[in-house]
Subunit: 328 residues, 2 copies
């Protein structure tokens, strides 16, 4: 089975590719070749078969056709302009997140038949916006409050229609906010959710811009890779016309997140969190969903962490080689 | 105030233009000029001011810009490829119903500033699909079962995002099935809902392809024009981010429809309905919604008929010059 990963240089993309390399199969089918695509050429992973790494912009005419000409059996479409950039640059957001996705879908639709790949698309809980219930059910209507969320919601609709028409076998998964993101602090409004754990775990200070009562919806990078693998192997027949699933996650407040840090790494780690209220960040995250039901995805075998302790332990295992530095 | 009507040659478009001509104002503002656009040039109506009639295909590059260059203050976008054709011709449906609408929205977005027109967009209850509750609420999630419904749902999302970004003041209205459509019987699956009244009212036979228990959601052409005028004058601030409203209507079974015909036109008219079960039509309409809450639109002053007797009387007044022929 040939696998195409679009967005393979991103954080989740790299971890997904690493999983392919170590497993060698998906859903019981041996992986014969990997095609890894991103806006910059992804690093070549250590895979036992042929690997192609390609720099491509899907929103440019002909790029999607060139990829689909290789007739991958399974396609992961993870690539997107992130929320902040899609809001700042209206044209770029629609061009990459909407037109790029549609060009990919159309390249598959118009490919020489027979061709019927599986397509896994990552959507986002940004498709939801206020007013929201405390626990968001699987039939919540989509009311995005950003252009990014609008673009993801539109792609969900296209995914369902193209699947219904028999052009591909599509499944969409709405990812929770992924914590703990490895790497450096960034300027994303959600950055502090990772930062207040990641930095203290290695003895560095982190800034908390919001109240401890703020609640949100989380899963680890490892869980995100698990979602993608489960989506890849899943028989989509039970999905009917509703092809996108809200993924399970952990609903937790910032206070609960900090208490988990205390349990796993001690009071010294917690002391490295510096309160620095930021009204702008507080306003943005106040509109974000805090809890989901996600029973449909759970019933289909998708699973996430059930405590923040577990999310922290996953980070220590996957990013810190299983060791916590002694905090002095 | 300059008004642009796209889809002005359609059944609802013509009636809307006739209303402009007789009223001369919308929402208390005098209409200074009418621009009427359709894929074929609309007939020139009897209007007291300047009227331009234009044949244009919005999905062709430059067409939307040329229209918006006239800087209409209010835009009605009613044009669409209908459901059956959008299903039969995938490319044409997406090109006209999605790309055409987006090109219009972008022409407004990119017009020389300051420019902030009101935009009224007609969506459809085809954005909803099974499984559906008996009474569909205003927060029902959109699960279209056709490409047409998908295109309308996507345009609703674009309308909300473009309005949120301040490019125009948009409002979408989801029309019920419009009965009694004037004119000849057509091949639309919904055609019989009009036909079993329209033909008997003038002494002609009509075919009923489904059971009398089938329930659906209706409003008259006159009510549809009323929705558009109400949308045009409405202050959109209370809509928030949810810019599209399900319009009120009448939930009625085919049996209730026939009993109304009996009350208004007598048993002889009812005898002209010939039962001819059609499994294909029955299957299509079985998936259609039967009843909506529509309380949000009702609270905002949108109103439809409350009985089929009223819908029939509207047809007799508006299409038959108020007279029923003697049925022999």
């Amino acid at each position: 089975m040939k696998i195409l990963v679009i967005g393979a240089a991103g954080m989740v993309g790299r971890k997904l590719v690493a999983a392919f390399c170590s497993r060698g199969e998906v859903g019981g089918r041996t992986i014969s070749a990997l095609m890894l695509v991103d806006i910059i050429a992804p690093d070549k992973p250590d895979f036992a078969g042929p690997v192609t790494t390609i720099a491509a912009d899907l929103s440019q005419a002909g790029e999607a056709e060139a990829l689909i000409a290789h007739r991958p059996d399974m396609i992961f479409h993870l690539a997107a302009i992130v929320s902040g950039e899609a809001e700042a640059d209206f044209d770029k957001g629609y061009r990459v997140n909407l037109d790029g996705t549609r060009l990919l879908f159309d390249a598959i639709r118009l490919a020489r038949k027979p061709y019927f790949p599986k397509l896994v698309f990552t959507s986002s809980i940004a498709v939801f916006g206020e007013p929201l219930p405390d626990v968001i059910g699987d039939t919540q209507h989509l009311t995005p409050l950003t252009s990014y969320g609008t673009q993801k919601a539109i792609c969900e609709l296209l995914l369902a229609d193209y699947s219904r028409r028999g052009f591909f076998d599509g499944i969409g998964i709405r990812l929770p906010t992924i914590v703990i993101r490895p790497g450096k602090p960034n300027k994303a409004a959600s950055g502090f959710y990772s930062s207040i754990l990641r930095e203290p775990l290695v003895g560095q200070e982190a800034v908390l811009p919001v109240e401890e009562s703020v609640r949100h919806w989380f899963a680890s990078p490892r869980a995100a890779v698990g979602f993608l693998l489960r989506a890849a192997e899943l028989d989509t027949a039970p999905l009917g016309q509703i092809r996108t699933l809200t993924m399970p996650g952990l609903s937790a407040s910032v206070g609960e997140e900090i208490e988990a840090l205390r349990r796993v790494a001690g009071a010294k780690a917690v002391k490295l969190i510096r309160r620095e209220p930021d009204a702008t960040v507080a306003k943005i995250v106040a509109g974000w969903p805090g809890n989901f039901d996600a029973s449909r995805a759970r019933a289909l075998g998708f699973a996430a962490e059930t405590s923040f302790d577990e999310i922290i332990r996953v980070h220590i295992e996957d990013e810190l080689e299983g060791r916590l530095p002694e905090l002095s």
